[in-house]
């Protein structure tokens, strides 16, 4: 049985993930210590929670690397149904939990879970399983493309209602990435760009704050205090870091210039403290992860594992790409966390879980192939 062969586990991938995780914990501490002290009177508040989730995450990853990835395929449909229930449950008063006008978490006892993270997980497994079953029918529009677009649309609507534009957007990108990799006809995918144009236009125009983000992106200095504020502060942080950075712990932008520096803009703080050397290293680490992930997909003997590995890798690749693009003011500001690095337990746990699955798939690769 391929899944039982421990020696074949992708060691490079494992190390890459652990390095990213370690950088994440260190940087969350560095970035958050000031605001953490202000808010909780405790420099280590975020370090503690991030550290605990990192350890739990490592165990989850190691555990899942031992669980046969094919097992999840059997529960693909129930997973989708559960994820939809959770996404709907957010809208039930008392269960939903959030801040700044967006309800994105479910509060279950002392725990908060982000259903959209679970939704991505469910969607990737479902698509991998379902597309594998379709075989040649994937080349048909009605059977191969439409059902997944519909499922994606349901997720998209539920998530955008939270609202969480960036998460909804990354769901779309992941779906299309999997459909593309699965061998659908290019035309069947390209056609969706047509209704998308007025759709995006409508969203941008109807939701005031989304439009503001777009215009801020074009010229952050036109409105340095409001719409362009975060973009400018991110550039200041990255720019002041220069090539070598100010040194670990020496960021000045984390002193409330960048709000919640341990979250979506942690990459800017890394740039300030560790310089171009640090940021380029992180980009290269993610590239390494993508290369290993897609290599696993290419070498995986069965179609299901191949698509599953592709989906998981694309998810990580797309999210980190979007996050870094926002931090470098390459795209409009949108709230998306940097995988393995940004603070946030729920997101980290799912990422680690996904890595566990990816590692398990890597075991199915024949030794000769590695």
């Amino acid at each position: 049985m391929p899944g039982k062969n421990k020696n074949n586990m992708d060691f490079t991938l494992l190390i890459t993930v652990l390095i990213l995780l370690a950088i994440g914990v260190a940087m969350v501490f560095s970035a958050s210590s000031i605001s953490s002290f202000m808010k909780y009177d405790d420099r280590y508040h975020y370090l503690k929670s991030q550290g605990i989730f990192a350890i739990i995450g490592i165990f989850a990853m190691l555990f899942l690397s031992r669980v046969d990835y094919r097992l999840f395929g059997k529960f693909a449909m129930p997973l989708v149904l559960v994820s939809l229930v959770l996404l709907v449950a957010i809208f039930i008063p008392g269960l939903g939990h959030g801040a700044k006008g967006a309800v994105r978490w479910l509060k279950i006892g002392p725990w908060t879970v982000q259903p959209s993270e679970f939704a991505k997980f469910a969607l990737i497994i479902f698509m991998a399983r379902s597309i594998t079953n379709k075989k040649e029918k994937i080349r048909s529009f009605k059977d191969g493309v439409l059902p997944y677009i519909i499922l994606m649309a349901i997720y998209f609507v539920l998530i955008i209602l939270e609202p969480n534009l960036s998460m909804a957007g990354s769901i779309v990108m992941i779906t299309f990435a999997i459909l593309f990799a699965a061998g659908t006809k290019i035309m069947h995918l390209a056609i969706w760009a047509i209704p998308l144009v007025p759709g995006v236009g409508y969203i941008v125009l109807s939701k005031g704050y989304m439009l503001k983000r777009v215009t801020a992106f074009m010229d952050p200095w036109a409105d340095p205090l409001n719409k362009g504020y975060q973009a400018i502060q991110s550039l200041y942080a990255l720019g002041s870091g220069g090539i070598f950075g100010l040194g670990l712990g020496n960021s000045r932008q984390k002193f409330f210039y960048i709000p919640e520096p341990q979250n979506d803009f942690i990459f800017s703080i890394i740039g300030e403290e560790l310089g171009f050397i640090g940021t380029a290293t992180i980009v290269i680490l993610f590239l390494l992860l993508i290369w290993r992930g897609l290599r696993i997909a290419l070498l995986c003997p069965d179609n299901y594992g191949c698509l599953l590995a592709t989906g998981i890798t694309c998810m990580v690749g797309i999210q980190s790409m979007l996050n870094i693009a926002v931090a470098t003011v390459s795209i409009p500001t949108t709230g998306i966390s940097l995988p393995f690095i940004s603070s946030g337990g729920s997101s980290l746990l799912f990422m680690m879980a996904n890595m566990g699955i990816l590692l398990n798939i890597s075991k199915s690769i024949k030794a000769s192939g590695g």
Binding site: A237, F276, V283, L298, N303
Partner: protein, 657 residues
Amino acid sequence: MSSIKTVVKRRIIVVLFAFFAVYAGLIGRLAFIQIINSSEYQQKAMEQWTRDIPIPSQRGIIYDRNSKKLAISATAYEIYVRPAEVKDPEVLAQALSDVLEMDRAQLLQKISVKKDTVIIKKKVDADKVKALREKELSGLIFIDDCKRFYPQTNFASYILGFTNTDNEGQDGVELTYEKYLNGFPGRNIKMTDAHGQELPGSEAKYYEPQDGLNLVLSVDEVIQHFAEKAIENALVENKAKRVTAIVVDPKTGDILAMAVKPDFDNNDPRKIPEELLDKWSTMSSKEQYDALFKTWRNPAVSDTYEPGSTFKIITSVAGLEENVVKPDDRFHCVGHVTVSGKRIKCWRSYNPHGPESFAEAVKNSCNPVFVEVGQRLGKEKLYKYIKAFGFGTPTNIKLPGEAAGIVRGVNEMGPVELANISFGQGISVTPIQLISAVSAVANGGYLMEPRVAKKVIDDMGKTVHEFPTRMVRQVISKETAATMRQILEAAVAPTAGSYIPGYKVAGKTGTAQKAEGGFYVPGKFVSSFIGFAPANDPKIVVMVVIDEPGGAQHFGGVIAAPVAKSILYDTLRYLDVKPQYTPEEAKLLQKPLVKVPEVEGMSLQNAIKELAKAKLKYSVDSEFEHSLESVILDQTPKAGADINEGSIVILYAKPKE
């Protein structure tokens, strides 16, 4: 099946390369930000982190000669708003509008601007800031500042001057002594977080502000008060355009008082002048500025006028010094004199003075006599004395905008010009020049430079810098000066408006027609009096100039002399100068007090009867022709005053038509 698998593999490789391309792009973008543009962002970030906070220096206090505070620096605040931190602009605008008395709509617009900080108001008093702080509004910033404050409004306005919003002197001694009064502001340069808190471990630079030094004026607050009060009344009573009074200590040249009415409020020098309130909004900003500038112009040093008879003092001392005339030389006034075929009239040509001594001619202010003295001197000698007394050159008083006056050059002086100058026409002087020249007569012939400030002291009261008195030159001998003082004392007869029993007032009145554009303007006069007391040892010299009196009277002796008398009387008593009564004055003082009856509006005949009933003597102001039927326009002292029996009441009769 195998075809799909191939497609999938190819597609995954495409995805991998797509990721490679995008991530390479991101690395490029990072290199652009962190390497190529790094210094630009770094500099901007540095600007954001660095706060350079100016720490205002306290401007020095201005004291009078007796250490009374005339100008102080009070703590004030500058109010700023950070629009991004404002929670409710409407509420904030309302609160600011209530407390600072500013327009609400304009404030709302101001605080809605997308700027880092917006200045709302400078120089806000501490109590207003307290009121705003209590409202606990977000987005408001208060910065320490100093505010110049003049405890007595409309007081010594032209001496003190004022400062601008940056606490820089703009006028008066605030301007001329700027380098002493203004200290050096300090700075606090520090790195801060987004909330303005200092960053830990950052290097803060603090430069201590250096406070300004304190200025001690020569001005005496009490005497200044006397002068202000006296000219305020004179302005109203005479419906004059302007009244100026100067009090000088002749021995030092110290300006004890310099008052001008109407004046301006130093605390609010840019207040719209009342008479312009209606049309202010229609005026251009230049017109507005010119109008304000006019109110700030100090007539005592900046305006020149034709001195008229008061200038005869100069002609007299020149004649006496050059020995061309003696006090008891005899003259005969026929009401006019002809110079180079031009007939020059005596002011009392309708009733010529007839035979008179030189001393009497000074008292009578008889023009032909001074023409004669001028001719005896010759233009070169008269010119020499005019220049020696300082006319035609600024006195170097430390007040802004001093004028030099106009003295005709000796080569442009023909016989007619010489004659005119002899009695004070055809020459223009500033009040400060004339009082300095007369002070020289009072000071044994020594011309002193007028001094407004005595010294600069630090906060401990230690003298840092002294402005010593300065004798410019001796113009005439002590003897000539003494002779002239006697003549001028005699000129102030018990019937004169400036006479004070026991105080030996010496002085000269003057009435000059105003010249505008080279022509005399009928009905526009400058009436003045200049005098000192006590004549044998002058303590003070007082000058009063009434510009364009609009009342029934315009003669200097009638309207300016009583103003000077009031200042002299108050000041001499304040300086504790003991009265020295002549035997006649002493006898008069023994007599019981009577109330002065009301005789205004009566005929002269009836007035004389009424005064006789009250056992009072009378004197009719002799400058006009009058008869027993003439109506009495005015009297001194006024009805109801308590005076000794046998005292003289001066009556001003309506001139004959």
